[in-house]
């Protein structure tokens, strides 16, 4: 696997009313070819500044950005333009030209490259049919829905055969159903054209449904990064936990919580996290068989699909003394399942 984008110790400072603001504070990150890398964070975390450095819309105060093995800040003006040509971007508010119809919007980047009329015609039609808008070519942006506008944005981004696609909150202005269809389209782009995608979002659904890697950003720093499964399964920082909880609910329903709080002496709550459905059913079966004298109740369970496999989180209440609980924990660990205490 080769690395296509590297951020090395990126710092970005700017002055607002004579006060120094540090937007990015020593950010390092690597994106491999074919990745769908998601950077998640609340607004103001600095993710928007970071993604804009890849295509030179922003420059760092210090640090390096290496795209395809080249430090983009050392490039000449012409090389910078060449670099931009293999990177496309889609935007939260689509940024379509209201004065041009769908066809001309998609054709725009090719026109800037002085491509022939025939080539433009062929490529634009091909891209419009790829995004499912072949019959809308004569329409103007104000006649399209949000989802259709983003499809035009995607067609315009793809028409130049980029190697990298930057997505700036591409689904944040869309309703949940449209978001899903756009995410599917992005996944198809990644698979079909082998385009590396770097995206920023504040929606964990986007990370869950689309990405294979994730970085969590907070106050201009990356607090956590890695494979989506790993970060979802074992979130370390509080912000990450908060984000994960928005898509994988982890709260025990109130009635149950009250009950177990009242009976703290007799029950111990354990949280089990595992990958793959088979592990789950087999473990629960073995657990009941081995500790058949222990009362066990499933208090809470969720199963989430990530990168084609499942992440299961079960909270189980065991009625047993401390030594038995330790035995149970050891037994669960033999199945390569993460087990942790739940404080109530």
């Amino acid at each position: 696997m080769n690395t296509v984008i590297v951020f090395k110790h990126i710092v970005k400072e700017f002055y607002q009313k004579k006060k120094k603001v540090v937007a990015l504070n020593d950010v390092s990150l690597e994106v491999q070819k074919g990745d769908i890398y998601g950077i998640i964070g609340y607004s103001g975390a600095g993710k928007s500044t970071l993604i804009r450095m890849v295509n030179g819309l922003e420059n760092p105060t210090s640090g390096q950005i290496i795209v395809d093995g080249k430090d983009i800040q050392t490039l000449s003006t012409n090389e910078k333009i060449l670099n931009k040509k293999k990177i496309s971007m889609i935007f939260q508010h689509f940024n379509l030209l209201e004065s041009k119809n769908v066809f001309d919007n998609v054709a725009l980047p090719l026109k800037l490259r002085n491509e022939s009329k025939e080539a433009i015609d062929r490529k634009v039609k091909e891209m419009l049919s790829f995004v499912g808008l072949e019959d809308k070519d004569k329409n103007y942006p104000n006649q399209l829905s949000g989802g259709q506008k983003q499809r035009v944005g995607i067609a315009r981004a793809l028409v130049t055969n980029p190697e990298i696609l930057l997505c700036d909150e591409a689904t944040s202005a869309l309703d949940p159903k449209t978001t899903k269809s756009i995410l599917k389209l992005l996944k198809r782009i990644n698979e079909q054209f082998n385009i590396t995608i770097l995206l920023i979002t504040h929606e964990m659904e986007v990370i869950r449904d689309l990405c294979n890697k994730v970085a969590v950003m907070e106050n201009g720093q990356l607090s956590e990064s890695g494979n989506v499964i790993q970060v979802f399964g074992q979130p370390k920082e509080q912000t990450t936990k908060d984000f994960v909880e928005t898509v994988i609910p982890n709260n025990i329903p109130k009635d149950l919580l009250d009950f177990y709080q009242k009976n703290q002496q007799s029950y111990t709550l354990l949280r089990l996290k595992f990958l793959g459905e088979n592990t789950a059913s087999s473990l629960l079966y073995q657990l009941n068989k081995r500790f058949n004298h222990v009362e066990s109740n499933i208090v809470f369970a969720s199963v989430t699909e990530l990168e084609g496999t499942t992440l299961g989180i079960f909270t189980i209440a065991f009625s047993a003394n401390e030594s038995i609980i330790q035995e149970i924990k050891a037994f669960i660990k033999e199945f390569n399942v993460i087990v942790e205490d739940v404080k109530i």
Binding site: K85, N95, L97, E98, N142
Partner: protein, 217 residues
């Protein structure tokens, strides 16, 4: 009631149309590039240049602070230099241009600044050069607004031509003063008012129609 010959009215109308169209045309030729320079060189603009921006901005502000009637007489030597005379329709056109070009520049500047900043960012993400940004992004996106701006400028020009009589420029405004006001002829005054209202209405309707058409609404 004192009648007025239709020929005189026709001549006044031709003079107004002549003055307005020539000064609008040349004023736009000067005003549009001025507006583009202002937008490009302004702080945080695509080609930021503090000195150029400061100079252009000051010149426009100075000219814009003069009432037209003052400008008209103040630049008489300059007018003579350009058209070789200080009296007549051509002599009125020179100050009209000087008056309207900065006005157009200021209004078009506003139109250009109204273009969604996301569009400029998009252009930069394509690696577009400044001229390409102007040609393929800024102007097409601002065109409807620029048309409305030029409509406003045209109407402003018609107002200014009323004072052109001071230097013998003629026109409808002059007719109202010389044949109406100074000869106590109410009919001529009412007639010129009606003509002016009709002309302004026509121009505004045309401008709004074109802008709407460009906006595809």
């Amino acid at each position: 009631m004192n009648r007025i010959s239709p020929d005189l009215i026709w001549q006044a109308m031709t003079e107004t149309v002549y003055m307005v169209s020539v000064s609008l045309f040349i004023g736009t030729l000067l005003g549009l590039p001025l507006a583009l320079f202002l937008v490009l060189t302004r702080p945080n603009g695509i080609k930021e240049n503090k000195i150029v921006y400061f100079i252009l901005n000051s010149i426009i502000n100075i000219i814009r602070s003069l009432p037209f009637i003052i400008l008209l007489v103040a630049i008489v030597p300059f007018t003579r230099l350009i058209v070789g005379k200080t009296y007549g329709t051509e002599a009125a056109i020179v100050p009209l241009i000087i008056y309207i070009a900065p006005f157009i520049a200021r209004l078009v500047e506003t139109s250009l600044l109204e273009v969604n900043p996301g569009i400029i960012e998009l252009a930069k993400s394509f690696g577009a050069k400044p001229l390409q940004i102007v040609r393929h992004f800024l102007i097409p996106e601002a065109l409807a607004s620029i048309i409305l701006t030029l409509t406003t400028a045209t109407i402003g020009l018609i107002g200014a031509t009323a004072m052109a009589g001071t230097v013998g420029g003629g026109g409808i405004g002059n007719l109202a003063i010389s044949h109406g006001y100074q000869r106590f002829n109410t009919f001529v005054i009412i007639l010129t008012v009606v003509i002016l209202i009709i002309i302004v209405q026509l121009i505004q309707t045309l401008g709004s129609y074109l802008a709407k058409k460009i906006r595809h609404q």
